[in-house]
Symmetry: C2
Subunit: 231 residues, 2 copies
Amino acid sequence: MDACAHCAVRESAICHSLPEDRLEELSRYGRRQNVTRGQTLLWEGEDSLLVGNVIDGVLKLSASTWDGCDQTLGIAYPSDFIGRPFGTKSQQSVTALTDAMVCTFTRADFDAVAQRNPDLEHSLLQRTLSDLDHARRWMLLLGQKSAIERVASFLLEMASRLSEDGEDEAGRIVFELPFGRQEIAEVLGLTIETVSRQITRLRCDGLIETPGKRTIAILDREELETRAESA
Amino acid sequence: MDACAHCAVRESAICHSLPEDRLEELSRYGRRQNVTRGQTLLWEGEDSLLVGNVIDGVLKLSASTWDGCDQTLGIAYPSDFIGRPFGTKSQQSVTALTDAMVCTFTRADFDAVAQRNPDLEHSLLQRTLSDLDHARRWMLLLGQKSAIERVASFLLEMASRLSEDGEDEAGRIVFELPFGRQEIAEVLGLTIETVSRQITRLRCDGLIETPGKRTIAILDREELETRAESA
DNA sequence: CGGATCATTGACTGGTGTCAACTTAGGTGG
DNA sequence: CCACCTAAGTTGACACCAGTCAATGATCCG
């Protein structure tokens, strides 16, 4: 299959590091797979039998405590890598937040190809290093920030990832969240009620608008950045 | 120099993946460096000019909020890798918790050697992947766990990293923390007073003893594990 | 002995969680 | 087309955990 050549993330996923002929080798093992919203690809604590690239859609990585509280540990967008190569168990579940398309490999196949292609490993290393940086920045948020700071930070991050076109005619930054309130709460380590209250507060203060349940319009980006840092 | 051949972490740091001759190449760029307790090797937000391996001692990775609250993002033990290769800025500071010895390289030198040695990159990838797993498990703690659960989890993790010999004659697991109370608080996203209160509580409940300020003796590991999970 | 640093304890406050009621939006079927 | 139903979000009242501020206690060291 030459699906890789026309892949939407051909230039941005870790595969970009492979030349044509090596790409063909990899593509023999790959499998394009549709995932429906809510579907879980990998379960926490189970053997990570597959790894892969996100082609389209948004997925979350999550783990839960003994009593069933979920914490979202990361968010995977198109061209992100998911799963745990060279390991045994996946420490987190991977679940689709939207309908999605992923390109999967069995871990064994991927590991073997990676061993033969240092450039692929280098790309994966680069990506893993920035995932680690990102996870650690999120630790600062979870460890130290107040509810309002968390929500403001979250909206700003979402804005930068999801609003391809800058501002609309009214100077607003508008985007559609792939999250419900409960899912936002799980990202931020808060409850759904607290998230709701903080969003209401930001709306009342005139920093944002919420035209639809999952739609956010940022009116005052600067002030929102202030709220993300200080009280 | 043939320091590498006799290095205390020769078999466990990422260098273990290099054969003799390649190791010699790397060693030409490396510099053994003593670090005194409290000294900071890298600053948050500054260009990560150097990277390296921890040979001896314990260091912390940390970041702080605008108002000066510190959050510890990771702990580096002997054979761990520190710094951010292939990047520009270090997202976190690296500070010694104890007097330590590190083996450093300029980032430029290391990047170049890594490019020529896929095995070295593979080791670094493995290590980075497990650092990422570890950071994400910590996110679950910061996002969802109560103070008592955090402290219990912390003590158990420290026990497994620091108590080489199992139990003493009285069946206790004894170890010396490289942390003061304030530093524990920064790891757990709590205040020093809360940490102190929870440790007192565990002592009163007969699960641990604290023979010295920084010494911990675990009396009832099982019960401590229960406290780390549930209320 | 006195001072400095670190840890502990107490009293109080406040932010976030909990529980419950209500609102809104969207979809289905009569 | 509207009534109803359900799921999701919002709002309010209250409780409780952890933060804050302040005082006390323990160790170490000059």
